[in-house]
Amino acid sequence: MLDLAMLALVVVCFALAKAYAGLCDDLLARPAGEDIAP
């Protein structure tokens, strides 16, 4: 039972990491004209 719980924890963590990568992908979408150069 504990083994299943541990493995579920691993699956959840990596699912969250993949969602985090998706979030980064969204953040990378550079809006036209945006520039932070001073």
Binding site: C13, C24, P38
Partner: protein, 574 residues
């Protein structure tokens, strides 16, 4: 401090410096897929592995595909290592009949070695079978290092490429790093270690009778092969509980120096590889210079601190000066074979590099020395660092530095020909902020709840330092410990596993995103508005950014631990 002590430090610096250029050139050729001396020997093995895995080496990946491959590979690594540890009692190569590892400890250990952390809440010789050590720990040491280098190479490609939608192929980079870089060096290193007396055997522990007539069990096993990759990979997880303080892991002064060189070699060489791939070796030397200055400050401070006497012991008239019976300085927790200099140097290299191997007990260092060890890890393992993670950590600081310089002096924020824009800054800050958030947040929780306090070996500020060190080490994927903390409990096993997960994956995902964003850009020609990043001024600026970002983030936590403990010792003398 002695001249022999300084000579050891100089010898290490010189050896690493001499290896940097040839090894950096070799790395650049390996990851570009160019001809190397080993290609005729290993090329067919590499091709066979690609065929077996269904990988087309010419098919490159976008940063997102690269990241997903990276995550899948590591998820499988954790699950397989977890299963191996749990099932070791029914698997072969278990001459000591060790039982399966408990679930929480197995998860902690699996995450630890897959993330290149090597935090060990267990004693290797009494917990893990030979199968677990060889097929689990050693294999993951190879793979975690190869994947770390792969990420660094992907980021370098981001800087080097022009308008490219791809940053390489994760499976190819992983395979090349393992076959062409890690394996050949480890074969040579393992042979050297065996020649110096490190065991390499599948025989069970030796049962002997001591000179007093009592029984003694002497643990041994396939140590040399694990030792070689433990150091080269920046992993640091020892075969024995006492790690490189054990005479079977580190038997002679020569192995001590060789182990230090192995820890630093790849991290330093990757700076040269970076310079070559972006078309200016000077850029690589600049990064290595910054690393060397930080390392020099750390080792100088550590050596002088430990070579001085412990002021609390001085009041008790305890002898702390050089005599026929003892060397001078704080010898508590140190191996007499290595002394103050060898211990201070190893501790500095280990915490600066993210390796985490130890040849002395860091918990016994004087408070300010402990603070230096903490600070090394708190600057995001940029002082050479583990293979790959040191370089990409340093490149993140380079991005912040040119951005801040752009704001301060009106220069265009660009680095090695790539414009640093809003997307790159967002990703860089994400990568840099998650480590202190996890470190400080989890340290605060552990300092406040009963399961966290239950593991403490000391009360007061030193106890807090033990907790802070554990989470700092975990998020920095370092793995060394203030041994006073009893971390083999469900609370620490799970929270430290979380810290290692955050420190590895929540950093690497945005790093790869930066790589993808940069690779898609054109190269901007250098202009009068470009901040020069290949001179002394930039070295100073980058140093300032690293120190200020690290210091401002962690200073309050350091003040509560090592700084207040040091003041307490001084106050008690009045």
């Amino acid at each position: 401090m002695t001249s022999i002590g300084w000579l050891q430090i100089a010898l290490l610096a010189a050896t690493v410096g001499l290896l940097t250029r040839p090894l950096g050139g070799y790395l650049a050729r390996v990851y570009a897929g160019e001809h190397t001396l080993l290609r005729p020997l290993i090329g067919s093995v590499e091709a066979a592995l690609y065929r077996l895995a269904g990988v087309t080496p010419e098919a490159e990946q976008t940063w997102y595909q690269y990241t997903v491959s990276f995550l899948i590979f590591h998820a499988l690594g954790i699950v397989s290592l977890y299963a191996l540890l749990r099932l070791q009692s029914v698997l072969p190569l278990n001459p000591q009949d060790l039982t399966g590892v408990a679930p929480d400890l197995a998860l902690n250990t699996a995450v630890s070695f897959v993330t290149n952390s090597s935090w060990q809440s267990y004693g290797g010789e009494t917990t893990l079978s030979y199968a677990s050590q060889m097929a689990g720990i050693t294999v993951q040491s190879f793979l975690s290092a190869a994947s770390g280098i792969a990420v660094a190479i992907a980021l370098i490609r981001g800087f080097a490429r022009r308008r490219s939608p791809t940053i390489g192929n994760f499976w190819v980079d992983l395979t090349r790093g393992t076959l062409y870089v890690l394996l050949p060096i480890c074969v040579i290193a393992a042979l050297l270690l065996v020649a110096q007396g490190v065991p390499q055997t599948l025989a069970p522990s030796a049962e002997v009778t001591t000179p007093e007539g009592g029984p003694q069990t002497i643990a041994r096993g396939p140590v040399a092969t694990q030792e070689a990759i433990k150091l080269l990979s920046g992993d640091g997880g020892g075969f024995f509980n006492t790690n490189s303080a054990h005479p079977f892991e580190n038997p002679t002064p020569l192995t001590n120096l060789a182990e230090l060189v192995l820890i630093f070699a790849l991290g330093a060489a990757l700076t040269n590889c970076f310079g070559r791939m972006v078309g200016s070796e000077r850029q690589g030397w600049i990064l290595l210079t910054v690393m060397a200055i930080l390392f020099g400050c750390g080792v100088g401070g550590l050596y002088s601190s430990e070579a001085g006497s412990n002021p609390a012991l001085a009041t008790l008239n305890a002898g702390q000066t050089t005599s026929a019976q003892q060397p001078a300085g704080n010898m508590e927790g140190k191996e007499v074979r290595f002394g103050i200099a060898g211990s201070a140097l190893f501790a500095e290299v280990s915490t600066a590099s993210s390796d985490g191997a130890v040849n002395s007990m860091h918990d016994s260092f004087l408070p300010l020395s402990g603070g230096i060890l903490l600070a090394n890890m708190m600057v995001d393992e940029v002082i050479v660092g583990a293979p790959g993670s040191g370089l990409f950590g340093m490149l993140l600081f380079c991005i912040v530095a040119v951005f801040l310089a752009g704001l301060m002096v009106g220069r265009t924020p660009e680095y090695v020909g790539k414009k640093i824009g809003s997307p790159e800054i967002k990703m860089t800050i994400l990568a840099l902020i998650c480590v202190p958030a996890a470190t400080l947040g989890l340290s605060a929780v552990a300092s406040a709840v009963e399961p966290g306090l239950a593991g403490l070996g000391n009360a007061g500020p030193h106890g807090y330092s033990e907790i802070l060190y554990a989470y700092t080490s975990a998020t920095a994927t370092n793995g060394s410990a203030f041994a006073g903390l009893s971390a083999n409990s469900p609370f620490y096993n799970l929270t430290l596993a979380l810290a290692m997960f955050v420190g590895r994956f929540l950093v690497i995902v945005p790093v790869l995103a930066v790589a993808g964003s940069l690779a898609a850009q054109p190269v901007i020609p250098r202009s009068t508005g470009t901040l020069p990043t290949d001179g002394a001024l930039y070295v100073c600026f980058l140093l300032g950014v690293i120190v200020i970002v690290g210091a401002l983030t962690y200073l309050p936590a350091l003040a509560l631990g090592p700084i207040v403990e040091s003041l307490q010792i001084l106050g008690s003398l009045r």
